[in-house]
């Protein structure tokens, strides 16, 4: 009885008592959700363009952030370190294409997926070998003051993150839907062989898309790294992207955004209002439960193009 009351009565009573607090929790959650969206975006990019679920996306985030911090600690100005890290990620894309993807043209997606697991292990070790495994502080001067807008407490940092994500998403959406390269990318995702036969150079496309995913990874790494410090666990945020992808659909950029927002807001609300009923810490697993429910009723996600059959 007590449990049922804690699930079905108490939360609603406290929401009714103080609706503004609910709004505050939701906004806080949405802004965290933006950060999840950023991670999910990297997955969607590669999945859209090559039909591969890139297990290495999380570690690419970590690697980009490590490189960025490492270069700053070597005394580079922030802008130079940013450009240099982009160069590193593009170089990485070239290497991955040459060493991993090219020998595997026309293989089953599952084989490419396994290859990305290999990339994960390699990058993980390589990153720590070069930059060490200590936690590094990343501060590029993004303000972190809490501010109050309309009676609601908001963290300035979250606002900046939301703005950055917004710009990235708008840019990528235009890139995919409106440009010739975007069409070539979608073509490659659909059918490697057919793409080759109309003269799309597969290797150029793969380098472009892995570069873009690397750059998105860098932005993600900077945002998450400023928040949590740059450390190994950064690569685990990739796991948080999975429920986001299941909600939003693996092939949809807007889906990644909306999925991230739902997961972010959902888990905060669940934690604050329903947490006590379950003894707290439901934030950690709420997203996965939500994803399970989605898998039962809408396996292609909210915006997915078709049933996910490849992963």
């Amino acid at each position: 009885m007590e449990f049922l009351e804690a699930v079905f009565v108490t939360p609603f009573a406290s929401i009714a008592d103080n609706p503004e607090f609910l709004l505050e929790v939701i906004i806080g959650g949405l802004l965290t959700g933006v950060m999840y969206s950023l991670v999910a975006l990297g997955f969607v990019l590669i999945y859209k363009a090559s039909g591969v679920f890139n297990f290495a996306q999380g570690v690419m985030v970590l690697f980009a952030a490590l490189t960025f911090v490492g270069l700053i600690n070597l005394g580079m100005p922030v802008w130079l370190a940013f450009l240099a890290t982009i160069a590193v990620m593009v170089a990485l894309a070239f290497v991955i294409e040459r060493v991993v993807l090219r020998p595997l043209v026309n293989q089953e997606p599952i084989i490419l997926f396994m290859a990305t697991i290999g990339i994960t292990f390699f990058l993980n070790g390589f990153g720590q070998l070069v930059w060490g495994s200590d936690i590094k502080v990343l501060d590029i001067g993004i303000p972190k003051e809490p501010i109050i807008i309309g009676g609601i407490l908001i963290n300035e940092f979250d606002l900046v993150a939301a703005a950055v994500a917004g710009v990235l998403v708008a840019g990528l959406a235009v890139f995919f839907q409106k440009t010739t390269v975007g069409r070539a990318l979608r073509a490659v995702a659909d059918d490697h062989q057919a793409a080759l036969s109309v003269g799309i150079p597969l290797k150029t496309i793969w380098v472009i898309v892995w570069s873009v995913a690397g750059i998105v990874g860098l932005v993600t790494g900077i945002m998450w790294g400023s928040n949590l410090g740059v450390q190994f666990s950064l690569s685990l945020i990739a796991l948080k992207a999975l429920p986001v992808l299941i909600l939003g659909g693996f092939t949809s950029i807007p889906g990644a955004i909306v999925g991230g927002l739902i997961v972010g807001a959902g888990e905060k609300v669940a934690e604050v209002f329903w947490g006590p009923a379950f003894g707290g810490a439901i934030e950690d697993w709420f997203a996965y439960m939500l994803a399970l429910v989605f898998l039962l009723f809408r396996p292609q996600g909210l915006f997915g193009e078709r049933i996910i059959e490849r992963v």
């Binding site: 390269v181 979608r186 793409a195 799309i200």
Partner: protein
Amino acid sequence: MSSVKTIGETLLKADGITLAFGGVKALTDISVEIKRHEILAIIGPNGAGKTSMLNVINGFYHPQHGTITFKGATRSQMRPYEAAAQGIARTFQNVALFKGMTTLDNIMTGRLLRMRKNMFWQALYWGPAKKEELAHRAFVEKIIDFLEIQAIRKVPVGKLPYGLQKRVELARALAMEPELLLLDEPMAGMNVEEKEDMCRFILDVNDEFGTTIALIEHDMGVVMDISDRVVVLDYGRKIADGTPDAVRGDQQVIDAYLGVAHG
């Protein structure tokens, strides 16, 4: 047969092509010439190596021996996109379209190589690139009219019936303005009416654009009707090469099709 038509000099010459997968020889010492403006049919029983031959010509397979001379340049290996860039377009036996994309987008991919702006720049500048896109769009509309697929412009091709998918695939190949068009069983799985339409399109393409065509087909009626020359493969070897009439009467060909014991 189409009326007056001048077959030109050799456009593509395959010389002594041998292709093996491990111990299995798919093609053995095959030499074929394709002349400008002709329609060449490649026929043969299942597993004779017809599709392998097309795959060699457009660079999907790299033969162990032999060379291919296209427009005067000889090579033993070529990447598929290089073949595409030099003017070889193809369709596939089991339709290789971009199923999630619309008919129009599918055909537009055929224009990629004709777009002059480098891909990287296209992604960044899209003022001039957009203008260029419009010109290509106009060209694609002509092909759409030509193949009579106006009504399905915006339909994702995955939703189209098979016969129409084949037509869209042909449209995509035509959008590349190829000099040599390779068609792998363009009429497979079609009903009589669709076959007649497809025959008409192939003849029209050959006639109006002067495109050289090499096709694989199982329907002998179609082959005899539309082709200028027929090459017959059996067990990876060429067993006949000549006009439809000459090939029809060839004893080896009859044996191959009726399944006389080899050996």
